[in-house]
Symmetry: C2
Subunit: 130 residues, 2 copies
């Protein structure tokens, strides 16, 4: 299956620090994954997507901001739900295709009303260290 | 930019439980994101990718197994490095495009030798709840 080459620059205008932008390895849509973790509990709450500008806004406003792939627009978490995410820290991973966002979560992170989006536990045969 | 439609079925042969396969929302390459968290500490260690069969192997062998996008092959974490991941639990998120894998991590999760891949902290203006 052929997919477009991933872009090496932002696909939408952004004032993200060029030194950070240069470290991003974006997918074909110009996005990196954003893994959201709750400050204090360490619970993994959700995964969303950021382009350069969403990352810039997240870093500079202290409010978690994503790119909505379905609506093709920026999305400040909590803007409609009131379930704000106040950013405590952001780390980039070793290959630049994901960020870990640590937040203070107001209310439920998941649109279903669950604390976390990862509430659907799958049956697993757990590994036993040998 | 036009990208292929995401597949509604596995892109490679898999014996994953059809009830689970039906809940996956794969990307254009037939993959879901796998967020890996350390059992006990709750540290987020890395992000990788799974197709249906990698998820099946992870669930049934108890050894975290991914799909390598660069090598286009299955990859059992630790197979070459010795840094095994013994699976303690797997949860699917609300929209089916990501799984959270809780593991016992042997050694460093990151190929750089770091405990976690998310070691590159970005400067952030932290949010203040109002």
């Amino acid at each position: 299956m052929s997919v477009p080459e991933p872009p090496t620059q932002a696909v939408r205008p952004s004032v993200l620090d060029p030194a950070i932008a240069a470290r991003l390895r974006r997918d074909e849509a110009g996005l990196v994954a954003a893994i959201v973790r709750e400050h204090g509990t360490g619970d993994v709450l959700m995964m969303a997507w950021m382009d350069d500008e969403a990352l810039h806004r997240t870093l500079t406003t202290g409010r978690a901001t994503y790119w909505s792939r379905s609506r093709q627009e920026y999305w400040v978490k909590g803007q409609t739900s009131g379930h704000h995410q106040y950013v405590k820290g952001v780390s980039l991973d070793c290959d630049g295709d994901a960020v870990l966002v640590t937040v203070e979560q107001v209310g439920a992170a998941c649109h279903t009303g669950n604390h976390t989006c990862f509430f659907d536990e799958l049956p697993v045969r757990t590994g036993v260290p040998t």
